[in-house]
Symmetry: C2
Subunit: 156 residues, 2 copies
């Protein structure tokens, strides 16, 4: 239910895979609060409320980056969607297994960010994240770049 | 962060205590979703987002009654308050210690439920809840009565 995210993110120009051969999630997400992040997400037929602790929240240093994914049903998801800030994010997420139990989450965005493709890899530790050698076909490393955060895309 | 609630609730007509001698929380709460419950709460100067799993949510029987209290700050609280359904619940909660580590949470409501007083006691187990002998000054046991659920008061 709770997990901490250590992840890196890259721009992708061209995907050297047949997308139809990959496991795919149809994702829709919207934000109710930017910081801490309160987000709703639909993944195929599953619905979640996600909370991500704010970095700057006083007295909660242990909770930094803590993430909770809490189940919603379709009705509560649609109800909360009516309260969203900014724009709905819509993307297809393709899952590409790597060695060492890692996987690439390849996000292919729809309107209003049509054409944007981001690859994310999540790691168990900071060391593993630093040591990771990105595949040749990954573009610019945009880890931590605000412009490519989903919340910023939804809210700007 | 997660806890399950086993509690009983009673109406109270008259309080045999000097309220000024009791520890008190000034509570304001509002609902964004009824089921599962997504609620925001202000307790004095602390702010929370609370999630309570729905009883009827398919595939999540382990989460029944699970409750998560996740920190907000004042800004995110006020922002989310702008999205609330129904009415704001405002009450003062007085804390009265009992034997065996139990305590009474005595909720004295303000508008729109001015005059309503509810006493709640939370227990470690169902057995303890059943065995509990309520103080003489407690009125009708309204455990589980919809009309006295905060969500119902806010949303009806």
């Amino acid at each position: 239910m709770e997990n901490r995210e250590i992840e890196r993110k890259w721009l992708v120009e061209k995907i050297p895979y047949d997308l139809n051969s990959l496991e795919c999630l149809d994702i829709e997400q919207a934000y109710l609060s930017a910081s801490p992040t309160v987000r709703i997400r639909k993944e195929n037929d599953e619905y979640y409320l996600t909370y991500k602790g704010a970095r700057n929240m006083e007295g909660n240093s242990d909770l930094n980056h803590s993430e909770y994914n809490l189940p919603l049903d379709r009705e509560s998801y649609e109800h909360l969607k009516g309260k969203m800030d900014g724009k709905l994010i819509m993307k297809k997420r393709y899952l590409i297994p790597l060695e060492n139990g890692l996987k690439i989450e390849l996000d292919v965005f729809r309107e209003p960010r049509q054409g944007l493709i981001l690859a994310e890899v999540e790691f168990e530790s900071e060391d593993e994240a630093h040591a990771f050698k990105a595949p040749e076909w990954f573009g610019v490393d945009v880890t931590g770049v605000k412009e490519y955060k989903n919340a910023v895309m939804a809210l700007s």
